[in-house]
Amino acid sequence: MGKEGKWEIITGNHAAAIAAKLSRVKVVPAYPITPQTTIVEYIASFIDSGQMDAEYIRVESEHSAMAAAIGASAAGVRTFTATASQGLLLMSEVLHWAAGSRLPIGMAVVNRAVGPPWNIHVDHQDTMSQRDTGWIQIYVSSNQEVLDTILMMYKVAENPDVLLPFMVCLDGFVLSHTYMPVNIPPQEEVDAFLPQYNPTHWKLDPASPITFGNLALPDEYQEMRWSMDLAMRRALDIIEDVAEEFFERFGRYHGGAVWKYKLQESDYAVVTTGTMASEAEVAVDELREEGIDVGLLKIRSFRPFPHRDISETLVDKRGVIVIDRSIAFSSGGPIGTEIRSSLYNLADRPPVVNYVTGLGGRDITYQDIMAMVKDAIGRITSRRIRRPYYWFKLKPEFERVEISEEVRL
């Protein structure tokens, strides 16, 4: 292990900004949106006070923020931006462009519900809806994990076998505006862990001119998309390797693509992500006290999705409870759908009960998670899983309508 870091009590947004500074990003295009705004404010103050040597571009929209990040990364320097919700959705077109250009841009996304109606609180509808843009998506559960993951993900994204952009997704307000103790590693340790970005695949340089992104016809296009998919799949092992290297240097391990808690030999597994996973840890302890044998599998990496790890880990469970904080209308939770897909080809697969809950910032506590686990175990043991997914914590009058709805499978 290297030199010790310094403890500070800071918000998730502050941790994200410090991570950008420690990563020595060179260009930061910035546009404000609640609850992301303080990230770009912190970075502005770092640059203006001379603590950070970077260009700050005060763009006029998130579309331009991502477009400017693309330009800067294409010119060959490490680049960072941050957004949330509507801002991420406005970026959508250029998110595809960043990934298709194989530019390892880093972005913090503060998860926030999508309008209308306006709502500034947490759910994962914003990032989940961008799952097919070619961006790596890592969901985190603490402010320390925000900071550490940004440092780790530059190393993953810039790996010549990956070269894809990444977003680190942190829950709005629950992390972004909540103070927690965070260990801030010394700059020299980060420098030793994360060397300067030096693209060898391509960059915009008059000394070595190329045309990038011109028309590719059906004879060429498909292999380009295949190569992105291959890179995404290869990123799974690289995420794990980098997490282990990070542990050796800094002494902290948050998991690779997944984080497992008391999962070995447990009868049931609860699968969730973000700060609901922190609540789920408490729920697991409480349930085990009550004699209910359950463990936690936290999804850190939603893209790439760790299908093999999940099927190998969950194959011998009596049941799997998946809790999603977003809704694929009429289909269920996006993680629930993926978990089913991981398990489907197993000869003897465990049943999956999927809950959709916590939208628009509705608070989900460990008691709620305990209730979902108990409800699910009841359904599994009595073979009453009649629906592909269940809504949880609806108001009673809405719950009555939901229960009375005919289920069309």
Binding site: K26, A67, G76, D205, T211, E220
Partner: protein
């Protein structure tokens, strides 16, 4: 230094054989001239436009300078990112947006306005063929009054946006209009722009034989007539001071209009109306030329 025909022949351009341009393409003519004036130490950022196709499909390219294709609305922001990244490594490169009129006056105007307001050190070029030509001739905010397009089959009912003046109102250090019909006026504006720090905007009228419906060998002639009839006046605004750079002997607007099929349905009375609009604009420019500052 003023570039003459003797200089221009010796300057290396960034346009190679094998492009996919239509015969007589004005945009291509513009690029050949501009790339000679700017030289090889130049990066081009191209949003969706005719040039997305003209540059030739992958894995070939007709452009020898670095060229990055970007989404329609994003060119000025992407160029800002490129310029800022070079700034962090002390690299001095001409960062140029090469955009059509749709990508400039319509879908790209927000990013363009933002980059101009921030005074990014880039050259934004609009090669203006006055409609969405790459998608097959649909009206844009740059299409002239009365012009036929496939989405204005009875002729456009609105005046085009005065984009150079919109940029001038951002108080950027350099704004200019140009036409492929006046190549030395054009190249010398780029020669000047590349030595000015800050945001530069140059709007080039680029006649389009299929879109405007005129014979392919008449591109330069149409581009020259546009200027000589005062349809497309050539001027520059340097640090707020406007100068009309070409003051030709006025020719009747009819000569420009009647050369093109897109004005086929226009009556002589309507041409008289357009003539009035054109003269008003010219007199307005002459008035501005006498002012200390336009903005």
């Amino acid at each position: 230094m003023t570039i003459t025909i003797h200089d221009l022949r010796k300057l290396p351009g960034s346009y190679m054989p094998g492009s996919a341009a239509c015969p007589g393409c004005g945009a291509t003519l513009a690029f050949r001239l501009v790339s000679r004036a700017l030289g090889p130490n130049t990066v081009y950022i191209v949003p969706a436009c005719c040039f997305s196709v003209i540059q030739a499909p992958y894995p070939k390219s007709a452009i020898s300078a670095p060229l990055y294709n970007i989404a329609f609305a994003a060119a000025a922001a992407t160029a800002s990112g490129v310029y800022r990244a070079y700034k962090t490594v002390n690299k001095d490169v001409n960062v140029v947006v090469w955009a059509g009129d749709g990508g400039t006056v319509d879908i790209g105007i927000q990013a363009l306005s933002g980059a101009a307001e921030r005074k990014e050190d880039i050259i934004y070029v609009c090669y203006d063929n006055e409609a969405y030509m790459n998608t097959g001739i649909q009206r844009s905010g740059a299409t002239p009054l009365k012009a036929w397009t496939k989405t204005t089959p009875a002729g456009k009912r609105e005046m085009p946006k005065d984009m150079p003046m919109i940029l001038a109102a951002h108080r950027v250090p350099y704004v200019a209009t140009a036409s492929v019909g006046y190549p030395f006026d054009l190249v010398n504006k780029f020669e000047k722009a590349k030595n000015i720090r800050g945001f530069k905007y140059i709007h080039i009228l680029s006649p389009c034989p299929p879109g405007w419906d005129f014979p392919v060998e008449k591109t330069a002639e149409v581009g020259k007539l546009a200027v000589d009839t005062y349809f497309w006046p050539l001027y520059e605004i340097e640090d707020g001071k406007l100068r009309i750079t070409v003051k030709p002997r006025k020719r009747p607007l009819k000569e420009f209009i009647r050369l093109q099929g897109r004005f086929r349905t226009i009556t002589d009375e309507e041409i008289d109306e357009l003539e009035k609009i054109v003269m008003e604009k010219w007199q307005f420019l002459e008035h501005l030329e006498k002012s200390e500052r336009v903005f």
